[in-house]
Each structure stands twice: as C-alpha cells, then as structure tokens.
C-alpha cells in the first residue's frame, strides 16, 4: 500500500448515470439492511490477506449481501463475486467507502443500466489507491501511535491514588488509547458504506469530504506535543527522586545515565536501522547488565 500516490480528484473517472430505461420493478434494490451487513462484514476484510491479492477475498466476502440482493441466479452471483476476488488494497477503516460505491455500481449493472465490469474495476482501483495513500499515513503512522502514546501519558499524568488498593490506571490508560483511536476511526467505519453508496457519482467529492490530510496534520502536531509533555512528566519526578540521600550531582547523573544514554543512542540507531527496536532493546539490556556488575 505504500507505493500508491494520491490521485488528484480530477483523475478519477466520473460516474454519471447514463440515460436509459428505468429500473425494472422485478429487480430488488439494495436495502439499508444489506449495507449494514456489508459494513459488519468489512470488519473481517483482512482475514484472507495475502501478498498477491491483499484484501481482495475480503472485499468479495463483504460485498456478498449486496450481490445476493441484486443478482437473481447463482451463476450471476458467483461471476460477480469472482470479479471482486482480485487484488484490492486500501486502509481497512476506509474500505467501507469503496464497498459502498461498488455496491451502487453493481446495483445499477444488475438493473440493466450500462455499467460494465471494467468501469466497476476502474472505479474501485481509482478510489482504493488514494484512500490507501491518505488513510495509511493518518491511521497507521499518526493516529495509532498517538493513541498508544495517550495511554502511556495517562500513566504519567494520573497519580497513584492509593498505594494498597487496585490501581485505576489499569483501566484508564488502555481506555484512553482505545478512545483516542476509535473516536476518529469508528466515525469512518460507520459512515463509510452509506456515504460511498450515496456519493458513488462523485468520487472526487467523496474523497475531499473525508478531510484526511487535514486530520493527519492536526494529529501529527498533537502527537509531538504529547511526546514533549511525556518527556517532562517522566524526567521531572526522575530528577527529583534520583538523589534521595543528597549525595551530589555525580550520583544523580549515574542514576539518570542509563535512561538518557538509552534514549539518545536509540534515537541515533533507529535513524540508521529503522524498525530494529527489539534488537536495540535487547542490546541495551545486556549492556546495562554488564555495566551494573562492574560499577
């Protein structure tokens, strides 16, 4: 998903319903209940995730209630299902939007309107790529780390109320993490399929209406601000309690040294070897163990 660049809205093929005969009464229309089923199935969109097709099988699985509604024979339903089994990759939270748009197009195709398979596929890909390019940096890179950080910050902010009773931070910290992420993500989850279905004719407008880049910029700043606050909230009590016997600066420095050195070296090493935190953590633990036996 990283290779996708966001397409300008003008690059997306407009879906204008061509003039044609009215929908035959015999063909059932997609109902709200079907869209809700699609939405609930989208929660499992990555269950058969593979490098080759990514979320393709999950997309077909999620769309099945709509295909069952609009196509009448098992053969038609099966062919439509197989069409959606190919490569599909977007951010899972935003997949509902593409599912909604495709549900509308499949409905029109079943009604006999001139919507061909290639148009459905083109629209699907044209939406999935920018949604991945906008959604991944927002949800994976910014919001998920921020949510975790808010949980950690909860531990630094909340005082230990009672030294012998149950620690309420155990409830508050994970709740903070869950709330921070889901306050944003659930909105897109719940509204995704109906919004995609309603705005299927205006994919460019649909993308713009999500305000994903603006949200990302905002949460990036909040994330950096929260990290700054966490550093102060951690160092302040550490510096105050590092020298209870008033043994002087040297003692204080020796107590704070593993933390400070560990932070600085990790920041430098991760620049050189990104993603190697586990290895760095084990190396740091080993070095600290060796040094602690010598000092």
């Amino acid at each position: 998903m990283t290779e996708f660049e966001p397409l300008p809205a003008s690059a997306l093929p407009p879906i204008t319903p061509p003039p044609g005969p009215p929908a035959p009464a015999a063909i059932p229309r997609v109902r709200g209940r079907d869209l809700m089923r699609v939405e609930s199935r989208a929660l499992y969109i990555q269950a058969l995730f593979s490098a080759e097709r990514q979320q393709g099988p999950g997309f077909a699985f999620a769309l099945l209630p709509v295909l069952r509604r609009v196509y009448t024979t098992a053969g038609e339903r099966g062919r439509a299902l197989a069409r959606h089994m190919g490569f599909f990759g977007t951010h899972p939270v935003l997949s509902g939007i593409v599912l909604g748009v495709v549900a509308r197009l499949e409905e029109r195709r079943a009604q006999g309107l001139p919507v061909d398979e290639a148009q459905i596929e083109t629209t699907k890909r044209a939406l999935a790529s920018p949604l991945a390019a906008l959604g991944d940096p927002l949800f994976w890179v910014t919001l998920r780390p921020l949510a975790g950080l808010m949980g950690v910050l909860g531990m630094a902010v909340l005082p230990l109320a009672d030294t012998v009773g149950p620690d309420l931070r155990v409830v508050v910290c994970p709740s903070l993490a869950l709330l921070t992420y889901n306050a944003v993500a659930i909105r897109y989850r719940v509204a995704g399929v109906p919004r995609g279905y309603a705005m299927a004719d205006d994919p460019g407008g649909l993308l713009r209406s999500l305000h994903l880049p603006e949200l990302r910029r905002f949460f990036e700043r909040v994330s950096a601000f929260a990290f700054g606050a966490l550093v102060t909230l951690t160092l302040w009590p550490m510096a105050q309690s590092a020298d209870p016997g008033h043994e002087g600066f040297a003692h204080k420095a020796s107590v704070l040294a593993p933390f400070v050195l560990g932070s600085i070296l990790t920041a430098i090493l991760l620049r050189r070897w990104p993603g190697r935190t586990v290895e760095i953590a084990f190396a740091a633990a080993l070095v600290a163990l060796v040094l602690s036996t010598r000092i």
Partner: protein, 252 residues
C-alpha cells in the same frame, strides 16, 4: 495453571482477530493487551495489586518499544497483539510461582523486566507465525475463487469463516504455548540466578529499557512528522510551566 492458560488463549485469540482479521479497534495494542491479561488472570487476593501494576508497566514499555512509524508494508513482522498478552501473562504467572525464590525488588521492576523482554521475543516469534498464515491464505484465496466461479456461495462463505477461525486459533495457540514456555523457562532460570538479581541491577536494566522506549517514541512522534521538534518543545515547555506552577502552589 490450566484455567489461566485457557484465559490467556482466549484473550490472545480475540486480540489476534483485532490485528489480523481487520477489526483494527486498537485492542491489539500491547498496552491494551497487557492490561487485559492482568485483569483476566487475577492470580488471587495476595497478588491482586501486582497483577494489575506489573502488566501496566509491561504494557507501557512494550507499547513504546513496538510502535513502528513505518507503513505496514515496510514494517518488520512483529505480532504486537499477542506480545502484550504473553509478556504480561509470563510476568504475572511467574511472580505467583517464583516469589519464594525471587523476591519482589524495587516495586516489581524485575517482573516488569521479565514481562517486557518476554513480550519482545513473543512479538518476533508471532511475526514469523503470521507470515506462515499468509502463505496459507494465498492457497485459500485460490480455492475461494474456484468456489465463486462454480456459484457455490455458501461454500465460499464457509471457507472465509474458516480463515477467520484460523486467525483466532493461531493467536490462541501461540499465546498459550508461548506463555507456558515462558513460565517454564523463568521457573528454570530465575531461581538459579536469584543471587545475582539485586535491586540496583534490575533498576539499571529497567532504566536503560525505558531509555530505549523513549528513543523509539522520539523516532515515532517527533522525527517523522513535519515541525515535530517544534511541537514537542512546546509540549515539554508547557508541561514544565504547569508543573512549576503546581509546585509553587503546593509550597505556598
């Protein structure tokens, strides 16, 4: 122990679903998983306090250490969902069993260390297991396409649900097996090195791990975003001013 392992398995399975099936509700984050594991295990009244605090410490460290700012495709395979559960479970279950041999040092820091290191190893092992699951998914997807072309929609759905169940079972079996192995290893090793485990040594290792965690968090939250330094400095200064103000208020 068996009932505890069942609970660990159930929790690991559910959190693996959150991470791998597509729920993405943040349940699979190490902080959440570790705290849930502490609450689920509850090893009895004498350990009630530690069974909550130690998982919180493990969860906080693992959360900072295992948060990778790269896009999923560019990340190293690490199973963060079960890492918190496994790390916290090993710490709590080992604490309960090994307390007579290895006493609590400096507020349970030793057990936080044991849980964090176990969680890091579990994240690496779980990542490898997830890779093998994806190879299996590729074969299932081919079969699913055949079933779709044959018009056998019921069979297609059953195949897909089996894929969902596989994710749950992988998370459950991995969590249970890794926890049992971790507790067994801790029971074997820790009593033998109990004499070497002192408060200051545990404190040094803990402080260095905390340092690594903060360095990783700096990499994630400050280096990657634009103007990250500026906003982090504003956050640090604003918090410092609030603390100084609160301190001055307390003294007066």
């Amino acid at each position: 122990m068996l009932s505890e392992i069942w609970r660990v398995a159930l929790l690991g399975g559910v959190l693996a679903m959150d991470r791998s099936a597509g729920w993405n509700l943040m349940l699979g984050q190490p902080l959440v998983g570790a705290c849930l594991a502490g609450a689920f295990l509850s090893p009895g009244t004498p350990w009630e306090l530690w069974a909550l605090r130690i998982p919180l410490g493990v969860g906080v460290l693992l959360q900072l250490l295992l948060t990778d700012p790269a896009l999923p495709a560019a990340q190293r395979p690490r199973d963060t969902a079960t890492a918190g559960v496994i790390g916290a479970s090993i710490a709590v279950l080992s604490l309960e069993r090994l307390h007579p041999f290895v006493p609590l040092t400096t507020g349970g820091i030793l057990w936080v260390l044991v849980g964090t290191l176990a969680g890091l190893l579990a994240a690496v092992g779980g990542g490898w297991m997830e890779g093998s699951l994806r190879a299996r998914n590729q074969r299932s997807a081919l079969r699913a396409e055949e079933l779709a072309l044959e018009g056998r929609l019921g069979a297609f759905e059953a195949l897909y649900w089996r894929g969902v169940a596989r994710i749950f079972l992988r998370g459950a079996t991995w969590s249970a097996a890794a926890t049992v192995a971790g507790v067994a290893l801790a029971s074997l090793l820790l009593p033998r090195v109990a004499g070497l485990i002192t408060g200051p040594r545990a404190g040094w290792i803990f402080a260095s791990l905390m340092g690594v965690a903060f360095g990783a968090a700096f990499h994630t939250h400050v280096r990657a975003p634009r103007h990250g330094f500026r906003w982090a400095a504003i956050g640090a200064i604003a918090t410092l001013l609030v603390l100084l103000r609160l301190n001055a208020g307390g003294e007066s």
